[in-house]
């Protein structure tokens, strides 16, 4: 349970850190895009590592994180008008 909480704290830090840099980079589109992609990659890697540690990593799980990450990037591009 403690490990589980720690994992979520790490995820929270990844997303919040990415969000902060994204917000700070207002007006610098390239930096915002890079930040968004790195944050999404962080989220996908977190998912893979988390499930690997939990012992329930499956190809379906990896595809799920990748698809949700892709949706997040497309949403980001929609906002930035890419």
């Amino acid at each position: 349970m403690r490990a589980h909480v720690f994992h979520f704290i790490v995820l929270f830090a990844i997303i919040l850190g990415g969000g902060f840099v994204f917000w700070y980079a207002q007006g610098m589109r390239e930096l915002q895009i890079a930040t968004g992609i790195i944050t999404v990659l962080g989220y996908v890697i977190w998912g893979i590592v988390h499930h690997a540690i939990q012992g329930d990593l499956h190809r379906k799980v990896v595809v799920e994180y990748v698809l949700l990450g892709s949706i997040a990037i497309i949403l980001l591009f929609t906002v930035l008008g890419v």
């Binding site: 979520f8 995820l11 929270f12 997303i15 919040l16 969000g19 994204f22 917000w23 207002q26 007006g27 610098m28 589109r29 915002q32 989220y43 977190w46 998912g47 988390h50 499930h51 329930d56 499956h58 379906k60 799980v61 595809v63 799920e64 994180y65 698809l67 949700l68 892709s70 949706i71 997040a72 497309i74 949403l75 980001l76 591009f77 929609t78 906002v79 930035l80 008008g81 890419v82």
Partner: protein, 345 residues
Amino acid sequence: MRGVEFSLPGMGDFLRHLFTPHHTNNHRARALHLDALLFYALALVFFNLFLGWFQKARPDVLGYATDIHLEQLLIATNAKRQEAGLSILGLNASLSQAAAKKAEDMFAKDYWAHTSPSGATPWEFVTAAGYQYAVAGENLAKNFSTSQAVIDAWIASPSHRDNLLKSNYKDIGFAIVNGVLNGEETTLVVQMFGSQSGQTLAAGGPVAVKPVEAAGLPNVVSTPEAPARKESSPTRESLPQAQEPSVVISDSALTAVSSNEKQAPYNVLTQKFMESINRPVVDITSLKKGALGAMIVFFCALFILDAWIVTRRRITRVAGHSLAHTMFFGILFFILIRSLGGSIL
């Protein structure tokens, strides 16, 4: 009755199958299956492509709605100053000209900053426009849809608010310009403040103050005690007296400056720099906000419902972590919706 069991499921069963973990969908809402996620991703791509194509084809139907006027900005700024017990500012031709040239320079060199990539500070535009400042300041805004939204954003930011409500200023200038910045269609608002050498300051007398730009601040008027950064603190001696801006505004852009600015303050700029009015049938920002908001709320609601049911029924399955997905899309929602608004500098 046996035939009922093999008939099409009712609406309740269908919705349960679609939105909740159930044995009919392998304990994962059908709307969250991998093929459904792929469908959302592709649908979003087509939505983006359609928006881009339609906006270009019919900008009168789908575009960025703006309604920003110089006069409204001036009135709103002075109203805020009066509320704070300060004197109102007079519209100054030279400051408006400096603001217009600064905006043109930002579009020409494609930057969103107080200092240009070539190192030109706001103060250089001010002096180039013929305004011999004792104190000067600059606020920037982009992608707001109304004049009031611009002023509200500046007032909500402590550093911009300080600038807007500085008692040392006597004059103000504005430019509202449309263009493409960082590949994005943008409405830029430049607000320049100043007080000329010899003008009586509210504090009770002329103050020898030199403007400097400090890191992270939209502009700072340094007090004698404030440390000035070497690379961006023009001294009175080093001020360029007749430096031309790197981008010259066409003759049609600026009309002749009136000899008596107070009598004809609005004759300073042409319509190009005085307002931005665009009223498409559908505002693209609102459309994006609505679509993105609906999609993310839809995801979060499904993931929360999924996590709740799976925990309650103690279902063991192979799937991603719904709480992690909720956290991810929840934070994404706030970041993206916030990014769709205007920004200030």
